[in-house]
Symmetry: C2
């Protein structure tokens, strides 16, 4: 553990070998977990400058603004950083469903003891 990073009052993101940190997105009003993505330095800077969540797509190798095609952008209410500064929490106000499936949250399935997944309704995701 880098003890400096957990006590400092300076924002010093600890990027991995690919230049990324994990970004956890929750709904500001409810705290509900909406999605997880990755951010590079540019995505962080753009998110802070514009107030709209930007991420780095590992599969496409490209920067993207959430909602640029779907219209379902995420307005930043608050950003937090974890103890070792390799993960960010984005508390947002979503303009629509955060998941590409049209669901409120990407975490819409519960893992059961037998390995089956149970699908949850949007209102059961809090």
């Amino acid at each position: 553990m880098d003890s400096q990073r957990d006590t400092t009052d300076q924002f010093l993101p600890r990027f991995d070998a690919a230049g990324l940190v994990t970004a956890i997105v929750t709904e500001a009003a409810t705290g509900t977990l909406l999605m997880v993505a990755h951010m590079n330095a540019e995505a962080i800077a753009l998110t802070r400058a514009t107030g709209q969540a930007h991420f780095w797509s590992r599969s496409r190798g490209a920067l993207w603004r959430k909602g640029e095609t779907s219209g379902n952008g995420l307005m930043l209410a608050e950003m937090r950083v974890d103890c070792d500064q390799d993960a960010l929490l984005l508390r947002v106000t979503p303009a629509g469903p955060a998941c590409h499936t049209g669901r409120r949250s990407c975490f819409y399935r519960r893992v059961e003891a037998d390995g089956r997944l149970t699908f949850l309704n949007d209102d059961a995701q809090d």
Copy 2:
């Protein structure tokens, strides 16, 4: 997007090149984000078998049970998986502070516009 993984009712974790998925840990009773870690197949299996959260430490290259040294274990209430099955949500009942700093959550600092971090009290982390 692997469309099969987002519609299936089978738990089929999509591990990265290092054999890991992202694990997001929230407090079951409140939904508060506590910590983020990584899990390999063995950590997932042990967590499901024992009901106590296990992770893979990338820095130490070792499996660990949260609380094995601190005593602050995480009892699993529910596991969920995201649309493309490369991230898990562990809803837990914590036996004590989840963060190694003694705080309830690892996300105890807000990123301000000027790049300074504001430290939050435990009860401001919901």
